[in-house]
Each structure stands twice: as C-alpha cells, then as structure tokens.
Symmetry: C2
C-alpha cells in the first residue's frame, strides 16, 4: 500500500474524501496530502513501531471542523489517527496507510478560571505552556511528564501521562475534569463536568483518558489546577548497589514520607552521563536516588531530614540536601542528561513497566539479568516512588541487534507481569505492546474493552491497530 501510493504519485489524491476535507476545512494548510508534507506526521518517537502513509493530514481549527472530518471519514470508511505533538513512545499516533491523520496542533487556547481553579485548554497546547499560564495566576498544573516541553495536553490525555510528581499528586486522569471529543461515531460530546464533584450518569471520562485515540478525537480538555506550591527541597543519595538504594526507598515509605518526586538512576545511566559530560558520577556511585519534598515550612525541612536519614541508614556512601532551589535543580541536572546520554550509545527501545514498589529491587535485578542474557546495555531510569521503570534498551549496531533488543523488550514485560506489575505505567500500549496487553489482561476484559470501544466507535475507524490487534 505504501509503495502503491508512492508509485501512483498524486493520482490517489483523487480520493473523493479529499474534496470533502478541503470543503470542510479553511484554506491555509489545513489539508496536507503530498508525501513531502505529510512525512513528519507519519511517526511518533517510538523506534520500530509500524507507520503507514496517510491519505492526508488535516489540521482543523475548531471542534466542529474535527467533527466534520470524522463524519466524512466514517462515511468513506477511512481510518482516523488523532495526533498531538508526536512525542509519544509507543507508536500510538503513527499513521495508517490510506488513513487521515487529525493533528490537533491548531486547537489551541488556554482559559484559566482562578476562582474554580481550572483551565479549559485546546488539546494542541503544550504541557509546559499550560503550566506557565497557570503559574501567572498563582496556580499549578501538576502532571509533569519528562516530555512537558514538547508534549501536548491532548497527547497527555490520550496516554494518561504520568511524570515525576505523580508519586504524590497522581497522573493526568486525576487532573482532568472534562473533555469535549468527537467520537468515532462522529458525535461531538462533552463528558465530565466543571464542578468539583459530580456523579450524574456513568463516568465515561475515565475511559477516554488513556484511550490512545481509539475512541475519538479530544477537542477540548478541562483540567483541575492547584495553588502554586512552595519551593521543593531536593535530597540526593549515592549508593554502592541497587539493593542499598532499594532499601532506602522502602525506608522512606516506612517513614510515612510521600516525596513529590523520587527518581533512581542505575550505573549504566551514570556511566553514560560520565562518558558524555565527564561528571565523574559513576566513580562515586553505583546507583543514585533523587528525592524532592514539597511540604510547606518546617514540615518540608523535617521531611528532607527524614529522607536524608533514611538514605544514610540504608548505607548511602553520600547523602545531602539542597539548601536552595538552584542547588536543588543542579542535583536534578544529571537526571535530565540521562536520556540524551544513553541515546548517544545507539537507537533506544524505551521500556515503561510498573511494578508494586515492594518488588522494585527484584525488578531492577531482572532487568540486569535480561541485559546479560541478551548481551545488551540496558540503562534504567525509574520513577522509583511509584515502581515505574524506564529501562532504556540500547539496540546494538550488529546484525542480530534488533532481534536481541526486541527479545529483551518482551522479556522485561513478562518479568513485570510475573511480579504483579503492568506492561506500561505511563507511555501506553500503542503499536509496540499489543502482544504484551494480551498477556496482561484476561480475554474477557479485552472483549469488554472492545465492546466499550464499539459504543464510541461503531465502525472501528478510530486509530485501528493501536492497543488491540
């Protein structure tokens, strides 16, 4: 199909749907259909996830235009792929051959209501822009995926994005009050509410958040905001082994402290950063833990002292805390360097398993065993406070490198399942983990999910091939 269309040049542009799309949308690049112009809409950031060649990419400016597009696609039986900023890591926004990619990049606008502490946001708005606008009102949008600067709110809703502070504040779903969406049936509907509470009718909002574009196209998001926080304190700990670091995490939990972030970097992460930036970190530690605490006033100080004591008692070779915000940020710099540092070693397959926090040390050991078994470098970053690991599988530039990396990727999912975990904590199933999903969920539950999908999308035009085969 890919090849056929390319060979045919612009001939397939005669698809009658294209005329309808052009009629439904304003002039000025709202319909893209040349191979050149659609190329950058074919992929998200997932290595290897299949990506087709779309019939067209559309960039509507209003919810009604999105509805008209979906209605037309449904009439023609053409698949619809919703797309945010394309920063996904599971192929959930990848084009399908002959389908229409609906980019939400022109659905912008942020309306903050400081009295109700909410914002009504276009799905194309970047997470960081929402956070910045909220801050102007003394408010805070909590979900902070590492991709905040480049990922859109619509994409965050599609994947139910997590982040660093969700160990204390919850994930995207916990901050979405309402969505407006165009269902696969072509209906423009509102789900959720603007009030702080509300139980009128079945809650379908939760099913939309994290649905990876399989139910409809989200055209507006109402999010809950919180009052701005006091500055965070940071505590860092250097450990001689993963086991010691795991013990430190357990000690923090036992002490009843809930950090606003708790991150782990293993020795492979540290070595990659050293190799790039000569920080010398790997000489000082095998494993690093970074905690943030945001309790106000003396309670924050007490929390920081408790965490530092927990780190020390678990055998940290060094533990210390920031005295100000600049110093705290500096401690987190190494964490920010990990992904680009490891990315220098070769193409990456980014894992995203999540396990009960009590078995996290065992899961970290399993990842190391998988790396040995398949002769791979796997550097693990973890949101350790929630048991969410991101083993970064470096794909060797060798003949069987891809096969070994793929085998490791699958094995890590299986190990997480054995330990009572899930194949994906925050990145989604997309096109990369459909096999894993079948291993995680009962056939009965998968059937139930497919029936609920059909309630939204009776003809199955929404993002086919994502989540379920």
């Amino acid at each position: 199909m890919v090849r056929a269309r390319r060979d045919a040049g612009r001939r397939l542009s005669a698809h009658p749907l294209l005329d309808e799309l052009r009629a439904a949308l304003p002039a000025g690049g709202a319909v893209l259909d040349s191979a050149t112009s659609t190329e950058r809409y074919r992929h998200d950031q997932a290595a290897w996830a299949e990506a087709g060649v779309p019939l067209a990419v559309v960039r509507p400016s209003t919810p009604e235009q999105v509805r008209d597009v979906v209605v037309s696609c449904r009439r023609h039986g053409v698949p619809v792929v919703p797309r945010g900023a394309g920063s996904g890591l599971a192929g959930g926004a990848n084009a399908v051959d002959g389908g229409v990619v609906v980019s939400t990049e022109r659905l912008l606008g942020i309306a903050v209501d400081p009295v109700e502490r909410l914002a009504v946001v276009g799905p194309g708005v970047l997470n960081a822009d929402l956070r910045a606008t909220a801050a102007e009102h003394g408010l805070w949008y909590a979900p902070d995926p590492a991709s905040a600067a480049i990922s859109s709110i619509g994409g965050n809703v599609a994947t139910n994005a997590g982040g660093l502070c969700c160990v204390k504040y919850g994930v995207t779903r916990d901050h979405v009050l309402a969505v407006q969406l165009v269902t696969g049936a072509g209906d423009l509907v509102r789900l959720g509410r603007r009030t702080a509470k509300g139980v009128a009718g079945l809650d379908l909002l939760g099913a939309v958040v994290g649905s990876e574009g399989t139910l409809g196209v989200v055209t507006e998001v109402t999010v809950r905001l919180r009052p701005a926080r006091p500055p965070e304190r940071t505590v860092a700990g250097f450990f001689g082994s993963l086991v010691d670091a795991g013990e430190a995490v357990a000690a923090v939990a036992r002490a009843g402290v809930v950090p606003s972030a708790l991150e782990l970097m293993d020795s492979h992460c540290l070595r990659a950063v050293d190799a790039w930036k000569r920080t010398g970190l790997a000489d000082e530690a095998d494993t690093v833990l970074l905690a943030r605490l945001d309790a106000p006033g003396d309670a924050g100080e007490a929390e920081a002292a408790t965490v530092e004591a927990c780190f020390a008692a678990a055998g940290a070779t060094w533990a210390g805390r920031s005295s100000d915000e600049a110093e705290a940020e500096a401690l987190f710099d190494a964490r920010r360097l990990v992904w680009p540092a490891v990315d220098r070693l070769g193409p990456l397959l980014t894992e995203d398993v999540c396990v009960p926090v009590g078995v996290l040390p065992r899961m970290l050991e399993r990842v190391q065993a998988v790396a040995r078994e398949h002769r791979l470098t796997i550097a693990t970053l973890a949101h350790v406070g929630d048991g969410n690991l991101h083993p970064l599988v470096v794909v060797p530039r060798e003949r069987d490198g891809e096969a070994r990396a793929a085998a490791a990727f699958e094995q890590i999912m299986d190990d997480a399942l054995v330990l009572g975990g899930t194949i994906t904590g925050e990145h989604g199933v997309g096109r990369l983990k459909r096999e894993g999903l079948v291993r995680e969920l009962d056939a009965t539950v998968l059937d139930l999910q497919r029936r609920v999908k059909a309630a939204f999308d009776p003809d199955g035009i929404m993002n086919p091939g994502v989540m379920w085969r």
Copy 2:
C-alpha cells in the same frame, strides 16, 4: 405485582430460579424469600423512591457465588439489584418487583498492604471499619462520607461517595485502584491494577465507580491508602448573612489555602439545632462556616491564621480557632447535629446539587427563594469548599405537602443546572433523579452511556430503573 405476590403467599416461591439460588449458595440464611425476611432489603434511605417486592434476597459469601447468582438470574431474565448497607439517599438499592437483591454484607475482609499503601476490601466492609483498620497500620483511607459509620465500601464505590475531606483529597474514585466485579453478562472480571500507575488498555474502572449497580456487582475493592495525617486544626466563623459567608469562602480560595474540610450551615440548620439542643447558635449567627486545616507543622498554623483572617475580613461577627483536637471536634459537633435536628421537623427530601464554587452564594439564594415560593422549610448544609449543597427539604405534614416538596426538589436541580452545576454531587441519580439526569445530559451522551452499559450488561438485568428510565 406487589399485591399479586402477597396474595399468592408462598406459591411464587416455586420460581425455578429459587432452587438454583439455593443450590448455588451455602446453607444458613444465604437465600431469603419470605416477605418478612426480605422486607428490610427493599429500601435504602431515600424518601419516596419506588421500591418493589423482590423474589428473593441473597447473601453470597464469595465472588464465585455472586457470579453463580448473576448467571442464574441472567438465564431466567430476572433483574439483579446490588445492595451494600442500604444507606443510600437516591433509591439506588431499592428492590424491583420479582427481582433478586444481592446483598454484599457477607463479602467482608480487609487486607492492608502497608508497603504498597493499599487495602483489598470486601464490598460489605463499612467505611469506618476500613478507616479504623488502616489507622492500625499508620495509614488513612481518605473518603469520609457523613455516613462513614453505616455505609459500606461497595456502596461508596457504587455512588462514588464524597464526604468532607474531598475538597482537598478527592472522592472515592480517586482512591480506588481496582475492583473485581461480576458483570451483568455473568463474567467475574478484574478492572484496574495494584501498581501506583498503569495504562494497559481502556480504563473501565472509572465507569464502574459511580455506576450505581447498573453494570454489575462489585465483589472486591482495592483502595489506595495514605500515610496518617497530623491532627487537623478547626476554624469557625459566625456570619450575619449568607452573602458574608460566601465572601469568606471566596477569600479563602483567593488566599491559596485548600482546607481539608469547609462546611456551611445556614440559619435553618442553626435554628433546628437550637430548637433541639438549646445551643443558642441561631442567636449568635445567621450562617456558620467551619474549616479544617491539616497542613503539617507551622504551615498548618499559618493556614489556620489565614482562614481566620479571611473570615474576619469578610465580616464575621465572630471567628476563632481550636487550640487542640478536642476543641476542634467540639466545633464540628453542631454540624453533626444538623441532620437529626432537621429530621425532627418532618420527613426529609435530601438534595445534593453541586455548582461552581463561584456561584455558590447565588445558589444558596435560589434555594431560599424556592423555599419561599413553595412555603417550605429548607435547611441547607453545604460542603461549601466544593460547591456541593445539601438542601434538606422538610416535607410539610399537609395535604399538598408532598407535592410542594417534590416541586422544590425538582426546581433546585433546575436552578443548579442553570448555574452550570450538576443535579448530584455525591449521592447519585438512583430512582429519584432520573428526570433531572435527562435535563442535565445531552441525548447523545445518554445514548453513549446506554451503549456502554450494554457492553457490561447485554440483557439489561442490572438494577433496571436506576439512573436511566
């Protein structure tokens, strides 16, 4: 139907389903079918909601027994009504004629996992018992409906129960990690997860929480626990008018303080308490606000001082705060007395509308106007921090009393909708607010909800007549 069965005495007991139920369940009162023994399972606490006479009440002891019951009922086309502790206020657990009430009272057990900070709980466990057990582990189950001592976790899940502290900590849905349930199709499934995060597949858990028994029977609930809190501080304010109290609430919000409870009692509440307990409250205030603050350490002290200052600045005739926990509890005693005090005035219709907090003063005025128009006493208690009002409509003991109270009940819902609110903040639609639901939601959304219900319950046997007509 009611009458037919009574006339027929035990003859209808020959229904073949009864034999199947007796075969599926253990001896010892697991199947009740006499009019006497089923009587106390016919109603919840909602005045006037219709209630039928069930064919039988069953009290299974295991999830598998629940499944067998539902499978049998489905085969015979007999309606199933799930029932928790019967403390609901919307008729959601009321029996239907010829149906089977499935009581979860024997599905007990609380297993706390302190490392993962979660508990696996039988739906029949009372909220207060879960809270007490969690406390033994230094943990806290946040959702605190006023009915905590008498309502079950299964019922809390069915209605997505709120409470006092949800202004800061969220409602039941925010604390449920997973459920096991028997769907209307007769499948025993698990939805959700045990891990802190997880996005594998469509999230159907959110649809189950708050579904009022229309999708299935919940047989196990996994809830999130938090570390125990520091003691709360309480600030009370007496105001000369609702307007001043409303201004005080807005001032607290503007100050960026999120109280762990913020409650309002209007003059009718105060007079009812006075008439019963001679507290003299109504002489001192027209409206009382009670705030709780649970920030730790000096931050909690600062929050309490800020709230007290906000109350004073808004014109409080008196404002003061507790110096210890016993004093704080004493300040909340009056609130606890409101419901029984107003209940002495006559039968009550308990409203539950929720509006944006910014229009709460206007909503309070509308309630007073409705009371005047229909010559009724309506005493309003409000979880004012979330905009959730409980106007208690006292039904006059007069010929047209019920009609006037019912008209007021409907009018309050309409007024809430006009102000951008919802007909139910935390009690549910049940059998009392089905007409209101149609006024609140688009027909398209209601259709979508019905299709999702059908995905769980293809034959429509689950709690017919609840939520949708």
